[in-house]
Symmetry: C2
Subunit: 234 residues, 2 copies
């Protein structure tokens, strides 16, 4: 079954005017507010203004809602990052830019989910908690691998790759804490943060004569001679 | 009264072997786990293995504990950042490095507090919530001012100063989510993240002869002449 065949594909309107994504985002907000244990399946239906049978059409239980939330946040993120890392048509900088922009876009699309996952972590059923943890580790490991590759090929500066990966992840995750859909102008946020991630890791470029052409090389020589001249005459 | 005269100065052992900082960190963990509403003053004493009267010696109520937690996390952070921003012996890069390292150190010293503040935000009494929000805004505004200054003086690249400030704050805040005292080697974390913040904002440096000295300038001239030589002989 392809994604487009799913009855519950994101954004598609279901009974009562609710969408599957709307249910997930509202459930995430409820879990965040009342805790996973403190939220009943019926509360999710009430919050959406739909009946419990209408909700059952999409989710069998609040556990399934939570499992889907985790699968769609951390698990699918790790898979997408792995796919980008394995591409051989992209440089490490391009890979870092792509995965960072993607992390930011995901958090902007569903900020409540990310905050909820953090808040409910201690109350998650063991099996779900393990899946979530494994997915978080996979995200860290994929990003670290891209950074290691960038350092190895000289595009990135020498730095602790784990701390660098955690810094990029933190910058992206925090979007879920400050981004307010509708209030913040959103067009440039993913690209701006991706640029920042690349700038954070990029090896400082030295001025190379080949990049400047013969006129540039001559201009540089003049600069250097002027400098030597000033030294002598001081 | 100076800080050293406070009966409750950080790290000082109080009755029952508990420290004021220990009480605060344990209370933060309880608030995070059970919610602020769900935590009784007595729970904090029980958790520390001290009597309620011993706890009363330092805090009048759980509200006071929470107020101190907020004052010591967000309010004092904003004040320290303001002091650094106003110094005229530091460049914008040095200010950014200093405040970033400080943010990271604070989160490493008390990770539970930062996660707790986020988790209890929706349950905070209005007055305390307003203080917390004002302090968060002050931190963002101080950091943004440092970045604006760096862009204006040409040390930092042109970028959206608010997004840049939020990126640095996110990178620092996230430390509270991944840092495990004792597990993670901690010596280099504040400096490494501060280096990353500066790298994220720094304008790419051009090779300046004055930075390299006369021998460097001569070496550069040789490079440029070699390049021109190759161009002619091609």
């Amino acid at each position: 079954m392809t994604i487009s065949e799913k009855p519950s594909s994101p954004g598609r309107t279901i009974r009562g005017g609710a969408t599957r994504d709307g249910i997930l985002e509202n459930a995430a907000a409820l879990f965040a507010l009342k805790g996973f244990e403190g939220t009943a399946f019926k509360d999710i239906a009430d919050e959406m203004g739909i009946t419990r049978p209408a909700l059952y059409h999409y989710f069998a239980s609040k556990y399934e809602v939570l499992e889907v939330l985790i699968a769609e946040t951390s698990e699918s993120t790790a898979e997408e990052m792995r796919a980008v890392r394995r591409r051989d048509d992209l440089s490490p900088s391009e890979k870092l830019h792509s995965v960072t922009a993607n992390l930011v876009r995901e958090r902007m699309a569903a900020p409540q989910r990310f905050r909820m996952l953090d808040r409910t972590e201690s109350a998650l059923p063991t099996e779900i908690a393990n899946k979530h943890l494994a997915a978080r580790r996979a995200v860290l490991s994929e990003l670290t691998a891209i950074i290691v590759d960038g350092i190895r090929t000289g595009q990135f500066r020498e730095t602790d790759e784990r701390l660098a990966a955690l810094s990029v992840i933190g910058m992206c995750n925090w979007v879920a804490w400050w981004y307010v859909p509708g209030r913040d102008k959103s067009d440039n946020i993913p690209a701006t943060l991706a640029d920042s991630a690349v700038a954070m890791l990029a090896r400082p470029k030295h001025r190379l004569p080949t990049a400047l052409g013969p006129a540039g090389a001559i201009a540089q020589i003049r600069d250097d001679l002027d400098y030597l001249d000033r030294l002598i005459s001081e």
